[in-house]
Structure formats: C-alpha cells, structure tokens
C-alpha cells in the first residue's frame, strides 16, 4: 500500500514538475505529454485518496476521514487549492504554508511562497493585522521574488507605474525565479494589451536566456549581446534571442496575449484562428479576454499602422510679412505645440531671419531712430538669438525628441545650438541625480532594500530616458559620472548591506553601459564584479 502511494506521489510530482518546465520552455508536445502524465497521476491519487476517506467514513472515523481529506488536498492538490481556494479567499497564511511545499517539488526558493502569499494578501485587502506577519516572513535579502511581491502590493495600492517598473526590473537579476518571471510577464502583458503596446508583448515573448541559471546576466552573455546589437542605442536592458530558456515564461494568459499581439501586428508567425481559440481556452480570465479574442480574429493587423502619424503640418510661410515675422509666428506656434517637425521648421525660419543680410542693418537704423546706445543693435540681436535657442531647447525637452535624430533632419545652426543646450540640460539633471545618490551613499543613509532598488530603477529610467533623447554622445558624457557615483553604491549594497542580488543587478547594468560607451577601465571593473555569484534566500 505504502509503495503504491509512493509511486503515485512520484508520478504526480515528476509529471507536474516536467510539465511545469516544459510549459516554461515552450507550450508544445512535451508540455501536453507531461500534463497528461500528471493528470493521470492526479486521477489515480484522487481515486485512492477518495477511497481512503470513504474507508474511514465507513468505519465511522469521521475525524480521521477529515484529517486524511485535508492532508491529501493540501499535498496532492495544493496548486489547485492555492489558485482556486486560498488565494481567492485571501487566506494568506494558509497560502504561504501550502506554497512552501513547492520548495520540495520545484526547488522554488522561500521567496516564492511569500510572493504567492502576497497575492492572497491583496485579495484580503491587505489588513492592518497582516503587517506584523508580513514582516515576520520577510526574506533576509531581497531578490526577484520579493521584488515581484512588492510589485503585487504596489498594484493593489493602485500604483501601477511602480508595479510595472518593479516587474520589468526582474530582468536585471540573475536568479532564475521562474514563478516571479511568470507573474511579471503576465502582468506586463495584460498592461501592454490594455494600452495597445503589442510590439512590447512580442518582444518579451522572444526574449530568451542561454540555458543555465541566470545565464543571461553573466558578463559574457551581456558582452555577446552587446556585440550583436552594437552600435549601442542606449538605455535598453539586454534580452538574448534564439534558443534557450524563456526569459519571461508564459502563463496561459500571457501565451494567449502573445498570440493576440502577433495577430494584431500581422506577423507571419501569428497563430491561426483555431490556435487562438485553443490559447483562449487554455488562458485564465476567459470572459474578460473574449472581446480581445474576437477583436484580433476580426481585425488582425488593424493596429499595424496605428500611432505612426506625427507632426502638425503647420507651415511657417513667409508670404505674409517679413522673414522675422514669419519666424516669430512659427516660434509661437511651436511653443504652444512642440513637435519634431515644428522644431526643425522654426529653427530653419530663425536661421533665415537672423542670417538675412538686411536684418542687422535695419536693427542698427532702428536703434539710431530710438536714440539707443551704439552697441544696442548688436546686443539686441544677440539677446534675441539666445532667447530663441533657449526656447527651442526647452521645447525639445518638452517634446522628448531624440536629439541625434532631429539633428539629422537639418543642418540649421539654431537647431544645433538648441540641441547642445538641451543635451547640457539633460546631463546637468543626470549629474544632480548621481550626486544625490553619491551623497547618500557617502553618508551611509540606508533605505529599505526594496526602496534602494526603487531608487536604482528611477536612476536607470532617468539615464535611459536621457540617453534616448541625447544619444550616444550624452551616454559617453554621462557614464563617467554614473560610474563614479553608482559604483560605490553597488559596493556598499554588496559588502555592508549584503543585498547581493540587488547589487549584482546594478553592477550588470553598469557593465552594459560601460560596454555601450567603450570605457575599458569600467568594463574590466564591472565585468569582474558581475562574475560574482549573488546569493539569495
């Protein structure tokens, strides 16, 4: 009897585990085969369990029957119990206990149980009495699971921006954490689908790491990817393609949304209509997803051309007045509604106005008429030029235009001067951010580990945004400051705070940036640090 039970246990455990792994890799034949094996085990186990309970009931042993039923449910069907009973009911303590069993079956770290419990905690409305318990099960060090758990709580607070930033940041960590990655991928896919960002879903679906635990964050993998994607575009985080482990393993829902995204973008590898129905059946939240399914089946590729229109098409026109009046008119238009095209036009209009031969003569004559000092004309012209450059630079920042791209559109001297000013402004803002971080690290003013991570993500986002706008030139100017101030942060986090996963995530990001700008000294230092194995749990 005991031997039979052990075999059933093994079949269920083995089948479930292999099905889980196959699902994370690709949802093909292996996934179906091992799911069937696990289901067979479940049926046998269910039959035996029910028989055992019935035997106890027949013998009048009600208490034993209850204990056996509870124990078998908890052990054999814990996933079903967690997903369909304890999490929806907000039983966070029970969820936490049941989820810990996965440590034996799936080698999940302890943080994974806390992540599952966070979902139940959210369903319970995050009651005040849970706070002490939540702190008592806090991990010694923050890793991917804890970041995902904090993202779940942020989402429950309604702070979707924070939740998205935290979920997305899991890619920076080396630890495998498949359950955290699955949850993050699902949340990000649902968020992207809600905003029509189909390309982002497809991009995430294709991101793969080389086989091995966290291999994608090893220095050699980052270096190989950098070599494959250089010249550096700046700001992005690495995502290998081709064969290997899924970086963002899909759940049924994510898999469905990936299919929707592929069809919306009209991709050649988009699933067929039947395939989409199968994915929808396999997905969770089917009722909520049905309109999306119908939309993608009815109008696949409809969103392909969406959102491509830019520019207001406003002309400066010089037929109605002088070139100066035309430049002033264009200037006011672009201040009211700055666009890339409008900025190019206004800069060129100013080039014409300021460069016009008779213009300075006219100002000089006017200065004499007004009885102004001798140098008033040249000073007025210079003041006008400075104000124009300043206004155009600020409009460039307000419109978030890419400086290298806009400079490619025109060789206007006003545009070049404004772009230089905008770049200097972006650099000054970044330097201020780095200095604040550096000062805090020097004073050893510690934040909670998850807030240190949030702080790093904010710096990374600001850097990425600035580099997106300022291009490689800004990256090269800003990186030495980032290297100086942030390296000491990573060292502090590793040596004193013992937050190895977080420190390692920061280091690998610095390593990526060092590769992008070709800073040999920084590449050597961060490459060496990135070789260290971060420990979690």
């Amino acid at each position: 009897m005991a031997r039979v039970l052990a075999w059933i246990w093994w079949i269920v455990a083995f089948g479930r585990r292999r099905a889980w792994m196959a699902r994370r890799d690709h949802r093909g034949g292996a996934f179906l085969a091992f799911t069937a094996l696990a289901a067979l085990g479940d049926v046998i186990a269910g039959y035996w369990s029910l028989s055992l309970v019935l035997v106890f009931l027949a013998l009048g042993e009600w208490l034993l029957a209850g204990v056996a039923a509870a124990a078998l449910c908890g052990l054999m069907m814990r996933r079903v119990v967690i997903e369909h009973v304890t999490v929806p009911l907000g039983l966070y303590r029970t969820t936490y206990l049941l989820a810990q069993i996965d440590r034996w079956f799936l080698n999940e770290p302890l943080g994974a149980a806390r992540l599952t419990a966070a979902r139940a905690l959210v369903r319970a409305g995050v009651p005040a009495r849970a706070e002490r318990w939540w702190k008592s099960v806090a991990p010694a060090r923050v890793g991917a699971h804890e970041i995902a758990a904090q993202a779940v709580l942020a989402d429950a607070r309604g702070d979707r921006a924070d939740a998205g930033l935290l979920f997305e940041s899991i890619i920076l960590l080396r630890e495998p954490a498949p359950s955290a990655r699955e949850l993050a991928a699902e949340w990000l896919a649902v968020d992207d689908a809600a905003h029509g960002r189909w390309a982002a879903i497809v991009e995430r679906a294709q991101a793969r790491a080389r086989p091995g635990r966290g291999a994608h964050r090893r220095p050699e993998a980052i270096e190989a990817e950098h070599a494959a994607t250089s010249p550096a575009s700046g700001g992005g985080s690495g995502s290998g393609r081709g064969r290997g482990e899924m970086m963002w393993p899909p759940t049924g829902l994510t898999f469905f949304l990936e299919g929707v995204a592929a069809r919306m973008l009209g991709r050649a590898d988009a699933p067929s209509q039947l395939g989409m129905w199968v994915r929808w059946l396999e997905s969770s939240r089917r009722r909520e997803m049905l309109p999306l399914l119908r939309r993608c089946l009815d109008g696949a590729g409809a969103d392909r051309a969406a959102g491509s229109g830019t520019g207001t098409g406003t002309g400066t026109g010089t037929d109605n007045g002088t070139v100066l009046a035309a430049a002033v008119r264009a200037h006011m238009e672009v201040l009211a509604r700055p666009t890339e095209g409008g900025l190019v036009r206004v800069a060129e209009a100013w080039d014409v106005a300021i460069g016009e031969q008779g213009w300075r003569t006219d100002i000089a004559k006017r200065a004499i008429e007004l009885g102004a000092p001798a140098d008033a004309a040249s000073r007025a012209a210079e003041e006008l030029r400075l104000q124009v450059v300043n206004d155009v630079a600020h409009a460039m920042l307000a419109a978030s235009v890419s400086l290298p791209r806009i400079l490619q559109r025109s060789d206007s001297s006003v545009l070049a001067a404004a772009a230089a000013k905008a770049r200097a402004e972006l650099l000054a803002r970044l330097e201020l951010t780095f200095e604040r971080i550096g000062g805090r690290v020097q004073e050893r003013t510690a934040l909670a580990p998850i807030d240190e991570w949030r702080s790093f993500l904010a710096v990374r986002a600001a850097y990425g945004d600035a580099v997106d706008r300022g291009g490689l030139e800004l990256d090269r100017l800003a990186f030495p400051h980032a290297h100086t101030e942030l390296t000491s942060w990573t060292v502090w986090m590793w040596n004193d705070r013992k937050e190895h996963a977080l420190s390692h995530g920061m280091t690998t990001w610095l390593f990526e940036r060092a590769l992008a700008v070709g800073d040999a000294q920084a590449i050597e230092l961060h490459g060496k640090n990135a070789q260290l194995e971060p420990s979690t749990d």
Binding site: L335, R366, L370, P373
Partner: protein, 95 residues
Amino acid sequence: MTEAAERLAENPFFVLGLAPDAPPREVEREAQKLLGMLELGLADATTYATPLGPRTRTAESVRAAAAVLRDPRRRLVAELWAAGWKPGAPAGGAG
C-alpha cells in the same frame, strides 16, 4: 503655459495694444488711457490680445510695459519679438 510662452505673451506692445513702430508719445498716451480705464474698472481694458491667446491686463503690467518701452535698448528687443504684430488682430491661440 511655459515660461517662454509667458514671456512672449507679456511683450509690452501686446500689453498696450500698440504696433511695434508706435512713437513714444503714443506709448505714453495709450498707457495713461489704459491706467484710467483700469481704475474705472472698465471691462474692455482688463484683457489684451496676443498671438498666444488673450491675457489679463493689470495696472502693474501696463506700468511695466511702458517702462520697457521708455528704454531704447529694451524696446529694440521687444520690437523684434513683436515683428509683424498688428493691434486689433484676432486673439486666437497659436497652432
């Protein structure tokens, strides 16, 4: 409203409702007239047209505008930014 747009909307010629080539005498006369109208609380004087849309006119803004136009150097810069401006033009927002 950006700082630059605010600066442009406060051009003294817009505030006083004058063309950039208005002689100093006319500047003084218009400033005095507007101050009188504002003191009496006449609705016509409380707003002025700019290429960026209508703005509120106050006694302080009228005095400041007149002061700028009394200084030949500062007036020269204001004239450049008011190029092509005609008082009484429609006060719609730019773009």
